[in-house]
Every structure is written in C-alpha cells, then in structure tokens.
C-alpha cells in the first residue's frame, strides 16, 4: 500500500519510493526499512504530519502517494 493510505496514528515501514521526487525523498530519510508514523493531518486535510527518524515532517498528500509501505504494528514503549 502507499503512505497516503495510513490513518492518523498508524505506522508503516517504507518499501520503496518512486516518481520524480525519489532522490529528494530518500535524502529526507524515506529510505527502505524506515518506520514512518502518521501523526495527524492538517485541519483542512493536507498536508500530513509524519514522524520518522526522530523528527516530524509535513508532507503533501500528493507526495505520500509515491511512497510504498507495508503496515507495521505500533512499537511498544
């Protein structure tokens, strides 16, 4: 599935990134194997606040469609 399919609070693990922004997204930390959690959406729905690698990043929905993930269970603790 794609990252835009996650609801707030859900976590996924990056499988791969495609599209013209691939290099940019990789450099931002969306490297295969990275855990990404959707924290919330902005009040009007876009962009989304993501938690990855210890920081929070806001990304527009269109871009989330480019990131392939698998659902992951929430980490305990």
């Amino acid at each position: 599935m794609r990252l835009n399919g996650l609801a707030p609070g859900q976590t996924g693990v990056v499988v791969d990134v495609d599209g013209p922004l691939r290099r940019t997204l990789l450099e931002m930390g969306f490297v295969p194997g990275t855990r990404v959690r959707v924290v919330k959406a902005a009040p009007l729905g876009d962009p989304a606040e993501l938690a990855l690698r210890g920081y929070r990043l806001c990304v527009r929905r269109r871009v989330l469609e480019r990131i392939r993930i698998v659902r992951a269970a929430e980490r305990v603790g």
Partner: protein
C-alpha cells in the same frame, strides 16, 4: 582562522554562535553568494561564520546548494558540525556529508543537557571513535563546553578529502551508517520536549481550535505592532526626526547657506529620508515579534495549517509569513518570500504582497478619515485592508493553473516548541534594520532628491515661484488627465501619487504642502474620495519595495508587479467611483 558553523535548522546553531561571539558581529553576504551569513569573533581570535541551517548538502536543493557553494568556493579553515543531541539522526546524516568535503571538522553535540534529562545522552566517546573526529558535548544555552569546542576546533587538522557523493548508493549508505551509529551510541530515552510539543499541538493544530488560536496570535502581534510598542517607538522616532530637522535648519541658517541648498537638505534629503525612517519602528516591531514566533516553533505550525488554502492560490504555506510581513512593509516581506516555496510560488507570493496594505499607508487613511469620515477611522481601515486582501486573493485564485510539479518542494519540519531566545530575535531584527537602512540611503535618497528637484524648479530650471509652477506640478498636471475617469483630476492629487512612489507617506506630506487649506478642496464628491483611496491602496509599491523585488526576482518581474498593481488600482478605482456615484452621488 575561520570556522563555519553548519547544522540543521533548529539545532541551536544561532544560540551557539551568539554564545561564542561577543565582539564585532557582522551580518553580511557570504562572499560570492547572496546568502545571509553572520560573522563574528570568538574568544581566542577565531572568526566564526554562521551559515544558514540546512538538512542536506544536495545540489539542486535550494538551501543545500547555497551552503555547498559557500563551502566549496571559500572553504573555511575548520567546520563545526552542530548536531541536536536529543535528535541526532538527521544531524549525523549532514555530518557524514560534511566529512566528505575534506575540511577539518569537529562535531558539537548541542542541547546535551536536554538529552541528559531525556535519559538519552549520546556516548560522545563512541561517536568519536566511530566517526574519527572530535565529538564535544555542549549546551550553547548554558554555556557548557564552549572553551573545549573552540580548542578542539583550532587543534583539529586532519581531514580526508573525498568529494561529496550525490548518488543514491551514497544516500542509502549514509543512512545505514547513521543507524549503526545511533544504535551503538545513542540510547533510547523519553523526548520530553517532543511530548510537550505534542500536547501543545493538540490545541494549536487541532482541527477546530487551530483557527481561533492562529487568529488570536496574529491579532496579538498586530495589536502590539500598530497599537502598542510599535506605535510608541514610532512617536519617539517622529519626535527625534523633528528635533534633528530643527537643529539642522538652525545650523544652516546660522551658516548663511543659500536658500535653495537649505531646501535641498531640509525638505529634500531630511524630509524624504525622515518620512521613510518614521515607520521603521513599526516594521522592526512586527519583524521582531514574528522572529520570536519563528524561534518558538509556531510559525512552522502556521505554515502547516495554512498550506492547503495557500495552495489554492498557487502559493505555499510558508508564504503566509511573507504576507504577514507585508502588512508592516513590503520590503522585508519580499525578502521573506525567499523561503516561500518553488520559484513559481515565490513569484506569485511577491505579486500578492502589495495587496497587503503596508503600514506606510496608515497616515493616508488617518488623514482621509479625519477629513471625510470623522469617527469612522476603524471602519475605513477595515474596508481598505479587507478590500486589498480580497482582491489580491481573487486575482491569485483566478490566475492559478494547477500543475503537478508544485508539490515536490514542500517539506516542513515541525521542531519542538521552545521558549524563543530574545538574542536570536534581536539579532535577526538588527540585520533587517541594517538592510533596510542601506536601501533607504541609496535608492530612496536618490529618488528623494529627484522629487525635490522637480518640486523646487520650474520649467525654465529656475527656482519655482510657487509650487504650482514647478516641474512636478507640470508632471502632475499632465498625469491628472489620466485620473479624470476615476473622478479626481486635481493636479495636486496626481502629484501626490507620483510622490507616493517614493514612499507612501509622501502622499499625505505632499498634499499637506500643496493643499494647506485641507483635503476637502481637492475633491468634488465623496465618490471621488473613495476612488482615490482605492487607487492609493492598490497602486505601485514604493521604490524600496520595487528595488527589493528587482533584487530577488529580476527587473522583468519588478516591472510586471508595478504594471499589475497600477492596472488593478486603476480598474478597481474606476469601479469604486462609478458604483459610489450610483449609490451615494
């Protein structure tokens, strides 16, 4: 010896720079590139350069390219990589890139006190062993580790030049290495600041409460700027300028200087510069308050909230700050638009900025309200401000053709909330003031003297007998024909509008000189008054703003902005005039 500070935004780099440099801080352009870098001297004579915060040195990324060019064209003797100890992953990624540059580097692990409190203090020795460079835990806020940092930086000499790799393998390899480093040397703790920020964000980015919170904060900023502190400082500035003018006038009279030269100095130079400086306090107060909001971390949330509506106008959420600044003065607003997204988004932001009625127009509204709408100043101001915003927004909306390419560069980090550092905000404000004053003394001085010349001399290049015979009046008379369809054709109004290109307050000061009996004599109907106000609200930005646009986006864009504003002003004033005639007469 020079040392450059490089690190992510929000890692406390500015605080570190402030802490290390006490004497001669200079803000200026980094040689060769138009980026704002601060330079200062640290204890022991090392010159420190504070480069803009950046996440990666990738070429073709706006910020990264700039810093990369700086470091390659004028390599400093040392690099101090500043990393946030509470959140080291991205900082370490950048550090790995910096190591590829081949400049002797030390790693400053900042916010070490916060990391300790989180129970997640990184093992500096382990990092040092793994990276091969000195790793110094510091707390810039507390002043911990400062001497050791400087000493290590001075001593460090070895570096392995390798060349920055930009291919995909390199990116993956770096992140893999970062993960290994963190697994070995960074314990898991509780990020208290993040938990606190999340609690605050439950309100400030709440689906419903975000909006009243935003409105309240902005209202507070504007009230303090225009009503409270800013207004007070403005009054002081006015008083000071008047005293200066009186003093200089007395001096010139005592020296027996020729009347024309006296006029040049007093009316021309001092008068013109003074009118610009008089609203410097308002701009700076606004800028200072916004700098505090930026430092606290809130402006990132504002951009997050506003990105969606801004997108419908073809702008980025970050444009919101630039537009806010536009209510103070277009000049810092245009400069702030530098970070407002793609080039297309930046250009569109700059086109929208003039619709945000700048503070220099307030004296105009005040005078007109007093003359024609007594007691209704607030209503008048509201109508004009709202009108500008609505019209500008509508034009942006209408001119926006959606393309898919816009989404790619909007990556906004939400840093932890923190108490804004006064020193950082003051430093940024001082930099802005310096820039503004420099511009005032060059462009505005020239334009002021030019207008003075047109006002003082007549068509035969002799001192004009009265204002009505000057070159400026002739110009105004010629232009006043254009304004007939808008309902106001008095040459003095056209002249005032020309002076308004110089600085918006000049409109009122010029009318004060040309029509001492009052504004009423200049208009034949209320409809004409409204049409004139509408025109004044919307027409070309002042010369300082146009100069700023030219520097940021080129002369072509600057010319287009001027043309667009004048066209919008003309059409809107025409519509207002005829509508007002119908309803009011």
């Amino acid at each position: 010896m020079t040392a450059a500070l490089v690190g992510n935004p929000n890692c406390g780099k500015s605080t570190l720079f402030n802490r290390l440099t006490h004497a001669h801080r200079r803000v200026g352009n980094y040689p060769g590139v138009t980026v704002r870098a601060a330079r200062g001297q640290a204890a022991g004579g090392m010159e420190l350069i504070d480069l803009p915060g950046v996440y990666t040195l990738r070429p073709h990324s706006a910020d990264g390219q700039v810093v990369l060019d700086c470091l390659r064209e004028h390599p400093p003797d040392r690099l101090i990589a500043v990393v946030d100890a509470t959140n080291p992953q991205r900082g370490l990624y950048l550090t790995l890139q910096l190591l590829e540059l081949g400049i002797p580097t030390v790693l400053a692990l900042n916010l070490i006190d916060a990391a300790r409190k989180n129970g997640a203090e990184p093992d500096a020795a382990a990092l040092e062993a793994a990276l091969g460079i000195p790793v110094i835990p510091i707390s810039a806020a507390r002043g911990e580790g400062m001497e050791r940092l400087l000493a290590c930086a001075a001593r460090q000499e070895r570096a392995r030049p390798r060349g920055i790799r930009t291919d995909e393998q390199a990116i993956l390899a770096r992140y893999a290495r970062v993960e290994r480093l963190c697994a070995a040397a960074v314990p898991h703790g509780i990020d208290r600041a993040r938990m606190r920020s999340d609690r605050i964000d439950r309100v400030l980015t709440h689906r419903i409460f975000a909006w009243p919170a935003l409105a309240a904060l902005l209202a507070g900023v504007f009230w303090l700027t225009f009503g409270g502190v800013g207004a007070l400082l403005s009054r002081w500035m006015q008083a000071g300028l008047q005293a200066l003018a009186q003093g200089v006038g007395a001096l010139l009279t005592r020296l027996g200087v020729h009347a024309v030269v006296q006029s040049l100095v007093l009316d021309g130079i001092l008068g013109g510069i003074g009118s610009v400086f008089s609203f410097l306090p308002v701009i700076l107060t606004l800028f200072f308050l916004l700098a505090l909001l930026e430092d606290s971390g809130y402006l990132a949330r504002a951009a997050f909230i506003l990105d969606a509506p801004m997108r419908r106008l073809g702008l980025s959420g970050r444009a919101a700050v630039a537009l806010l600044l536009g209510f103070g003065c277009s000049v810092p607003a245009v400069l702030a638009s530098r970070t407002a997204g793609t080039e297309r988004e930046r250009r569109r932001t700059v086109f929208l900025i003039p619709f945000m009625s700048c503070s220099a127009k307030i004296p105009i509204y005040a005078a007109f309200a007093a003359a024609f709408f007594p007691g209704h100043m607030l209503a008048l101001a509201t109508v004009l401000y709202a009108g500008g915003i609505v019209l500008g927004t509508a034009l942006m909306r209408a001119s926006y053709r959606r393309t898919g390419a816009d989404d790619g560069t909007f990556f906004l980090e939400l840093p932890n909330y923190r108490l804004p550092q006064l020193k950082n905000a003051l430093r940024a404000t001082a930099a802005r003031a310096k820039e503004f004053i420099q511009r005032a003394f060059t462009v505005i001085l020239l334009a002021t003297v030019l207008v003075w010349f047109l006002r003082t001399f007549d068509l035969r290049l002799q001192p004009a007998a009265d204002a009505g015979r000057s070159l400026l009046a002739a110009l105004g008379g010629a232009l006043s024909v254009l304004f007939r369809p808008l309902g106001f054709s008095d040459w003095r109004l056209a002249t005032a509008l020309v002076c308004g290109f110089l600085a918006k307050e000049s409109v009122i000061s010029t009318l004060g000189v040309l029509a001492p009996s009052g504004l009423g004599a200049l208009f034949c109907s209320q409809a004409a008054v409204m049409s004139f106000l509408c025109f004044t609200l919307l027409y070309t930005p002042c010369v300082a703003a146009v100069a700023a646009i030219r520097r940021e986006l080129g002369a072509g864009t600057a010319a287009k902005v001027v043309a667009a504003q004048c066209a919008a002003a003309y059409l809107a004033a025409w519509a207002v005039y005829h509508a007002a005639l119908l309803f009011i007469g």
